[in-house]
Amino acid sequence: MSTQMQARSTAVAVDGEIVSPKTSRRTSRDRKWRIKVTIGQVVTILLILGIWQAISGNVIPDYLISSPTGVASDTVTLLQTKTMWNDILTTTQELVFGYAIGVVFGVIVGVLMGSLKYVSSVFEPIIAGINGIPKIALAPLFLLWFGLGIWSKVAQASMIVFFVMYYNVYMGMLGISPMLVKLFQVMGAKRGYVARKVVLPSLSIPIFSGLKACVPFAMIGVIVGEFIAADQGVGYFVLQATQQFDSAGLFSGIIIMVAMVLIGMAIVTFCQNRVLFWQRTGHDK
């Protein structure tokens, strides 16, 4: 552990964080650039919100698009109600279980397919065929199998997540350098050692790219499930709001969903930075 920490601090030194005249000049130019970019982004968002506010009620009726101020006040009010937090809790549960189940199975199947030639020859076209099903079309089936509660949504989400994860890991398995594996075999390494020290770390990049891609996919699965049939959840809330022509509520629900996805992405990114520290340190290649 201590050597790892040491390594990370040297890495920072090598990456050019040592303050020399040359690097500090570069940093100040970088900062100016970043400020310019941020200003551009803020202006764009303000412009969109401004146009939205201006046309709401004047050009397009309020019940169709609400307005930024309406959505903002609605969101604040909603977040103070107990039912909204119940909905968020339900959706979070569905999201976490669906994501986890899909990821675990995706990794297992991906590794099996990547390491056993017979298995991949038999199952690759079959899995591709199943992946051809528009997964959303299965929602009624899941409802039938798993009922109105959270498990039909969990099934829907994990079904979508599984395929994304599986393809990432499978392709990652095929991308492992055969030369590196052979070299370790000549060095005397047994299967277990190669699996732990060569294969698993090689897969860390495809696994994390899969983990990132899957967060919004899991949300799609959950929301579709809630749209089909549910009695709680953020998706259910949005559907209710729509049926009552409450466009402010609808937008608030969407904002809450986006926030949940972003939080999920942030958690994955946090983990990624801890695991893939060796990757960020490269400056040579």
Binding site: A7, M187, Q279
Partner: protein, 261 residues
Amino acid sequence: MLEFRNVSKRFETPGGQEVDVLQDVSFTVDDDEFCVVVGPSGCGKSTLLNLALGLVPVTGGEIVHNGKRVESIVSSDVGYITQDANLLPWSTVLENIMSPLEIRGVPKADRKATAMEWAEAVGLGKFVNFYPGQLSGGMQKRCSIARTMVYDPAMIYMDEPFGPLDAITRTILQETLLKLWQTRRKTILFITHDLVEAIALGDTVVVINGQPGGVKARIPIPLQRPREIRHLAASPEFVELHTKIWSYLEPGVGNNLGEEM
């Protein structure tokens, strides 16, 4: 001792055609000998190494390593240094050098001490906590040499290890290798397409040429050791050897160019 006895290798292309890469190759590498195999690209010299290591099977003849026929991956007491450094990018220099010791179950404290010694020996003492991605190509190569030397294999196979490096780094690393080999004698089978490198390093140069590749000559290099590689090219003995080896390469080189165009 490593013996090639009438070794042939035939590959099948994806199109179903059969290509002879090596035909009837016979030569012997003695214990503690630095044997260099030289030949133009496409003559099958890297294949020869893969056969000797048991990474691919021979289609004719046999390879005998210390009295044992090579039939599967050779992993006892041999080292393998490839053209790419092939380090673990997620492990530090020290962890990379320690990995063969870890495989051998050496206690952790000893592992670290031995690996440190070798990191120093190849000039990476200050870089033990760096990751391979932070090192130059030459330093990565030094690390891969240390990773092999650390477990003291009796025989080392090297497949154009200095090929991708610039001329200056290459010469310095060749000198480092010779210095290490001088202090710790080992049997080395070294593959290269660089004639100067072959003469500078080897006790013996085996010339492989043609398609399929075959042994054209086995030339002893009587140059005195220790050798100063950077000054070697100026000596008359060197020039003589260079001319002699070239004469075995010439006809085959013509063929290769013809095929490549």
